[in-house]
Amino acid sequence: MLALVPATIFVYLLGLIGVVADGEPVRIAFAWIPSLGLDLSFFIDGLALTFALTISGVGTFILIYAGSYLKGHPHLGRFLAYLLAFMGAMLGLVLADNMLALFGFWELTSITSFLLISFDHRRQAARRAAIQALVITNLGGLALLLGAIATQRLLGHWDLSAIRAAGGTLGESSVYLLVLWLFLAAAFSKSAQFPLHFWLPNAMEAPTPVSAFLHSATMVQAGVYLLARMTPILGETPAWTGILCTVGGVTLLWGAFAALRQTDIKLMLAQTTIASLGLLVFLIGIGSETALIAMVVYFIAHAAYKAALFMIAGIIDHETGTRDLTALGGLRDKLPLTFIATILAAISMIGLPPTLGYFSKEEMYLALFGGQWQGILGLAVLILGNALLAAAALIIAIRPFMGRLGVTPKTPHEAPLAMVVGPLALGVGAVLFGFFTPWFDEMVLSPTSSAIAGMAIAAHLHTGIDPLNPILWLSLLTWALGGLAYWKWDQLRTGLRRAAAAPGLSFDHGFDVFMFGLIRMAGALTRLWHHGRLELYMLVIFVLLALALILPVLGLSGLPAWPELPALHFHEAVVVVLALAGLVSVLFARTRLFAILALGAQGLAVALIFMLFGAPDLSFTQLMVEILSVVILALVMTRLNLDVRDSRSLEEAIRDGAVALLCGVGFVMVLLVVLGQPFNGRLSEFFTRYSTEIAHGRNIVNVILVDFRGLDTLGEMSVIMVAGIAILALLRSQVRKPLDPTPVRRRSPRKSAAKSVAGDVAPKAKAAPKARAGAQTPRRRTRKAGPETGGAGA
């Protein structure tokens, strides 16, 4: 039923084909974020339409297939929802005109891909594959973001259509290479180009419909799409051609060889997908008309046969319980419809006429034929790659179906129709297209390749088979090589396996090394900075404090001058000495009580200083606060057996002392600077002037407190109130302590502690069985070391 959604979209888009082929791209825009100048704009030209049709077309069959493939799975609904979400994102990606919207859809495809790969989340391999895919594609996505912003900065538009319309190109820009690499990083990561290719085979952990849809036909093609899309803006430079051809060629060969190494059908298909992606990138890199035409044809052909083959792999897996090519065989009679579909898809993959695969091969050889040494090298790469792919196709088409019936975990039966219809239709389609080449040329190929190249291209596929055409001989060579590779597959496979194992290190393993290295480094750094030692946290702060105080003064004004101010009187000096003596006594106090006493003496001295300099209210308050502090300290100390002596080693004490001294000196210096400046007393003058007249109070300080700046006081009294609440809560929390599951190590000798034990044990005993029975009774004083208390006490 859900398949109706993509089907409808497909039909709708099909209706646009004529319009687009007439050279009238459709643009739809909604005002999205006017403040950033962003429209949510969609642009449908040939390129977008081809991709969108592929996505919705393949998507239709995939959804039909998936419903049957995962029948009875508890999370089928979840799966289909993710799949639909992915399809929406993918369609958005290819249709989006705005680069930021494109980036958004790009990331959405990564995320939905993550969810789909990890669908079978019970296996670590699936989780690993999902994370790997997301981590790699997300890094590429971020590069895309940077590239998009840079492009907008350089060319002035967010909309690609507007850039193309203005003929914007970055080829001559001084930062061209940087921007190019940003886009390439995005495309290569998404399209699994060497050396970022390794996530794609792992992504085969996903259920087969996902592999068929995301990791062959659509999502991985997003990188190809991006490159095609950016060709008019970034392309046709030596760097472009060089990088794309090199990377694409290497990927093609790497994937093709790796494919023949596999025995798992899905993995083999995944590797051929990598190879095909390399091929597409290679063709875009060449960028000539024929190459682009070849690329478009190959893209369509590949999407059709690869999706079909993946679905077939799924059917085989589903029906036999294994995907191992060496164990399979003789399924021809058991799965006749599947066999037909396989043959059709394989023909296209091998590139036999009259399939699309054939045409694409012809075109690509044509594109390179007769070039310089680069062309010949490229041609060789293409032929070798295509030959290996053909071998893989032969293997997949023949091995499971011919020969003796293999011993498989499940007895094979033909799959339900819903599963077979997709591969069949796609296989037939791949073949049928070959018979409608004129229509195909006009309606699909020309608009698409024109859109890529940014200029009009009239595509024309060479349908005739002309023995004099050297290209045909190249095709024959390809098939011959492919046949040879198929014939010698077993030897080849062993050899390749040995070669792959030789370095002892694979890219895939490298990812683990990177991730675990990152995690280890993260752990080490975190332990380094967040070690849990309060005194060092503080030390950092005070070092910064010293720098903050000293550097600006030294840097901007030099050592401050000693301002000319009146000296102290004797009694004032005595008070200062008292303060100092109090300070030093606090430092050297050997017992708690002495420390408190010294603190009191120092506080008294401060109060006297306030008094001597005309601040009776302050003095008053300071005295009261000091006395109450001493009282509270004494009350607390009676309950504790604390040692106030310094436990620092001498070196630590010197270090701390130096930092503290620097801070102190810094404060003095900045105070001297401030004191050297004229004072702006206008606030106080105002308060003095109006205190009595308007606020009716003669005590100016009090008037400031309750009237001029009453809000401060309101906040302050609420601080006091909250402190009261908080302290009571804190104190009350300790009554529960004897009920801790862990034994109490220390208990104050007071009687009330014993009382509270006696009073609290009973309710706990009553409450415990209830709690075990699951009743959520709010218990008053019992504390449970549950999750909400942060698992404390454990």
Binding site: I131, F516, I519, G532, R533, E535, M538, F542, P566, A567, A573, V576, A579, L587, R592, A595, L599, V606, G614, A615, D617, L618, T621, V625, S629, R639, L640, V644, D646, S647, R648, D656, G657, V659, A660, G664, V668, L671, L672, L675, F679, F687, T688, R689, T692, R698, L705, R709, D712, T713, V719, I720, A723, I727, L730, L731, Q734, K737, R745, R746
Partner: protein, 125 residues
Amino acid sequence: MDVAIALLVGAFMTLGIFLMLSRSVIRMLLGLALLGNGINLLIFVSGRLSREAPPIVPPGAYVPEGAIANPLPQALILTAIVIGFAMFAYLLILGMRAYQSLDADHTDTMRLAEPEDGPRPPLSY
């Protein structure tokens, strides 16, 4: 005299910070109290000092006769003293509770939230 008090501020800060860097919670609290007093004095000096003329308007007058001490810093410090006292009381009792629960007032023993030999992050997916 401003300079003398400024120097006193420096002494308060130095000793307060030195005490705050010690590992005993109770000493850190004493340091915090000293630091608070130092900052109060700093505000006091910043508002410039004058001797023995409280900012009080004599009865019957509208404005005080002659120069008076700057009233605004006094109001600010008064607020700061009371707030500082509330904080001091809270932290003191927090320290007491921590002592009772963790069995020492030394920061070395306070490693529950960030265990000394914390778990290494798992190398898995």
